[in-house]
Symmetry: C2
Subunit: 510 residues, 2 copies
């Protein structure tokens, strides 16, 4: 059996494996502040790459970035009843603006500095951004308003898990206002498609894009769409959402405009977000028993050069050779950007560094020793094919020029290979289920890689929907989404026996 770099395998304990990857790949750590994590350099570097690539797409579709306040006065929340019901249970509330000594060497909030109106730390910004939209929008000429912000938000979660559910997290939230329902609905779907494309092209994360059922809607939304990814344990991760808000928020916040006939109308608004949760998805889709594997488009460093030094006079020649290699690589362009090549000169053993980069998931690790320099070679380790069939490390000695000449193609191959692997797994683990019994059998105790089941249903609402949700809960299942590309219904609803109107995915979820 091959000895792997991590102390726990995915098969032995997926949850523990996830935490181990996060620690060993230098992604994040507990901060000591309840529910908040420290995002470490490699993890934050991946987030910066996500930001750059997604931001380009958000700007290319006509949106501009702004920044809105962290704090939201309580009264803003009171206006949209459904929205506050959805969020009020888990918000951080600022009540004082000063500390004073408690007389015992400690500090306490100063009773004389109590805020007249408490402030909420934003859990999402519809209310505060809507208030700005109400100021900005007077005439149909002011529409559409197409805004995005990159920010931190806070939701007081009881049980937290790094990247997947933390009290504070980082995200982008887009907010738009339109003159007509049709335009706002088009925008909602446009951004869902931007998310699908970003997830699949950049994160190499295959997803199912579709509409969430009524019970899974964003509080206050008319329709919520999501991209759903499948983790290696078969569970679903909602990796991005796009909401059509109708005129619900516009009515609460008085976003109205004079149309071309001079009549006042409420705007139709949308909102959409992707967060650091996507990093959790990346780990659980691409990680293996040696650590993380980062798709080259997201890798802070795509190629890492590790010189094998011996504290000897020959070291200088090895370092010079590595510097020239780094320069050659940095002159290349992959995915429309300069190749990111690092020369790792930290004070540590070459083997320690090599395994460090394997665990971090750098796509290609190059080792260079005195013999490589003499022969004009490099030793190449590709993260996507780490071992040979005999279980030995698949490190190949290649002529330096040949490696440089093929480096861009190798990065492209790793990117598409990671996607293909995940896509094959997703496709293999979505199956139709003809009736409730089939669902029960599939998700029975001990079933492995349960994946998603596609079932036909009559799309019940209200109390009838609640009954369905309860029934699914008994199997620890939730409704994921109605895939945009699902076939039309042609049978009976597995819950009610009525004629089905569409196909919906069910699965276990994070």
């Amino acid at each position: 059996m091959i000895k792997r770099a991590l102390s726990v395998t995915r098969e032995a304990n997926f949850a523990e494996w996830y935490q181990t990857v996060i620690a060993e790949a230098d992604m994040a750590e507990e901060s000591g502040v309840r529910g908040c994590m420290v995002i470490r350099p490699w993890g934050y570097g991946i987030w910066e790459r996500m930001q750059r690539l997604l931001d380009d797409k958000i700007k290319a579709t006509g949106h501009e970035n702004c920044y809105f306040p962290l704090f939201i006065p309580l009264s803003y929340f009171e206006k949209e009843a459904e929205h506050v019901d959805g969020f009020a249970k888990e918000m951080a509330v600022v009540t004082h603006h000063r500390l004073i000594s408690d007389g015992k060497g400690g500090l306490v909030p100063d009773p004389s500095a109590k805020l007249e109106e408490p402030l909420v730390v934003r859990p999402t910004s519809e209310t505060v951004i809507g208030t700005a939209f109400a100021r900005w929008v007077q005439s149909w000429r002011d529409l559409p308003v197409l805004i995005n912000q990159w920010a931190n938000v806070v939701r007081w979660e009881m049980r937290t898990r790094m990247f997947l559910r933390t009290a504070e997290f980082l995200w982008q939230e887009g907010h738009t206002a339109h003159a007509t329902e049709a335009e706002a609905r088009e925008e909602t779907l446009r951004m869902l498609e931007v998310y699908r494309e970003f997830a699949e092209e950049c994160v190499a994360l295959p997803v199912v894009a579709g509409e969430k059922p009524e019970n899974e809607r964003f509080p206050g939304a008319v329709a919520t769409y999501s991209i759903e990814a499948m983790m290696q344990d078969g569970k679903a991760l909602q990796a991005g959402t796009s909401h059509f808000l109708g005129t619900n928020f516009a009515r609460a916040q008085d976003i109205k405009f004079q149309n071309s006939e001079g009549v006042f109308e409420h705007a139709n608004t949308t909102s959409w977000g992707v967060s650091t949760r996507m990093i959790g998805g990346l780990i659980m889709v691409h990680g293996d028993d040696d650590g993380l594997r980062v798709p080259p488009r997201l890798a802070p460093w795509q190629i890492v050069i590790v010189p094998m030094l011996r504290d000897a006079p020959e070291d200088a020649a090895v370092v010079d050779y590595c510097k020239a290699l780094q320069k050659d690589l940095a002159g290349l362009s992959a995915f429309g950007e300069p190749v990111r090549a690092l020369l790792d000169l930290k004070a540590a053993k070459a083997a320690t560094k090599r395994w460090g980069w394997v665990k971090k998931g750098a796509p290609i690790v190059i080792e260079v020793g005195g013999r490589d320099v003499a022969g004009g070679n490099v030793s190449v380790l590709r993260r996507d094919r780490l071992y040979r069939e005999d279980g030995k490390l698949d490190s190949a000695v290649v002529a330096k020029g040949k490696f440089v000449g093929g480096a861009v193609a190798a990065l492209e191959e790793i990117q598409s290979g990671l996607f293909a692997e995940a896509k094959a797994r997703l496709d293999a683990n979505i199956a139709p289920a003809a009736d409730w019994a089939a669902v029960e059998a599939h998700f029975a105790e001990g079933a492995k890689t349960p994946g998603f089941l596609e079932v036909q249903w009559s799309k019940p609402t209200g109390a009838a929907l609640e009954k369905v949700v309860e029934r699914l809960k008994g199997l620890k299942l939730t409704l994921r989404n109605v895939p945009n590309d699902a076939a039309p219904a042609d049978g009976a609803c597995i819950f009610t026996g009525d004629a089905a109107v569409e196909r919906v995915l069910v699965g276990r979820s994070y």
Copy 2:
């Protein structure tokens, strides 16, 4: 007299002019949340450019970005007495994590969801990052730790002014730990120099880099350095600071390591920050009576193309011509990046758009009408030379090819011209003052563009320094910094009459 684009001139009322530029140039607005502003697209676009350029320099000097929690437990602050004294008076305190209905349609913090330990919204992150450093640093091999974070911070200011002093603001804060005092001091000065270079090269903002006197030190620092810029009203703006913290924070937070002899030592730490305040400096240094002038390196759009349309069939040809021009310009490279050229197709009159871009300060505005298309020309308006001597707009008709061929040189000229203009003003308004009477005379009631005075002093400390500070306060003056490149002292201290040890700048400040 030339009719200018703004309703108020700098000379008539500098403070009102500043607010007017912010409004008319689409920079920011009041949010309705006390002390917090909304940063609008053009303002945020400038911040994004600042982030990109400064981040490149921070990374080039070996720092990695991370992200640390927004919330800091009270107990973290209690450890560093001087630090908490400096900040405790103005922090937002989170005391509850849930809201409930007040029974009258409103919301109140849920008394049953009171936090055991209140959380402070970070005013700066030394304490929480230091706690992480204590986990990360064990051996001399772990040093230096070179970290930066881009984040929002909150200081509960009583009087706020957009960009200059807001309760919430955006910044980067660098934090480093080193094995020796010498290395940490070197880092402190290295980052001061990075700030000077960034301010002068990118923001076209000439600054004086130097050490702040003892009374102006960051709470808990051993030494604080700053870059000081001079606004058009002669006042000083501290535009960036770099702090050598010695072992003060390391002792409070237990950041210690085993040196190469196996002995435990406390690390020496530094911190340094630049914030959205820099945008206030940009406005007050480069703005004029027609609005903002943005240095090309920071302009979200460097060249804006305004087609002059008449709702006529010829419009299509004008738009096509503009699109081709935009493509030509986007293919150019200025300051090592692709030229950012916008084609403004919004539904508004060409003259309205032109003046909108003038007020925003886009470096070059191109207008294209049917006659320009017929002649193969463009009408060019440069923001740095808006009017001819006769007071008419200096819009020049130029052959399209000639304009494109000279566009990069024009952008470079605007960038260096803005710097030269500001630098000449700074130099002209720093003067030596031989004695206290000269200081009094210079800053007498009604004195215009007071600028900075350089005085010799004996660098008093403690109570003697407090007396100096009080005396300066009588003239509304503060000690700015001791310029790194100041000549050695050669006279008497203007405050005490003792032999002077150095030269220090005094001035009025924001």
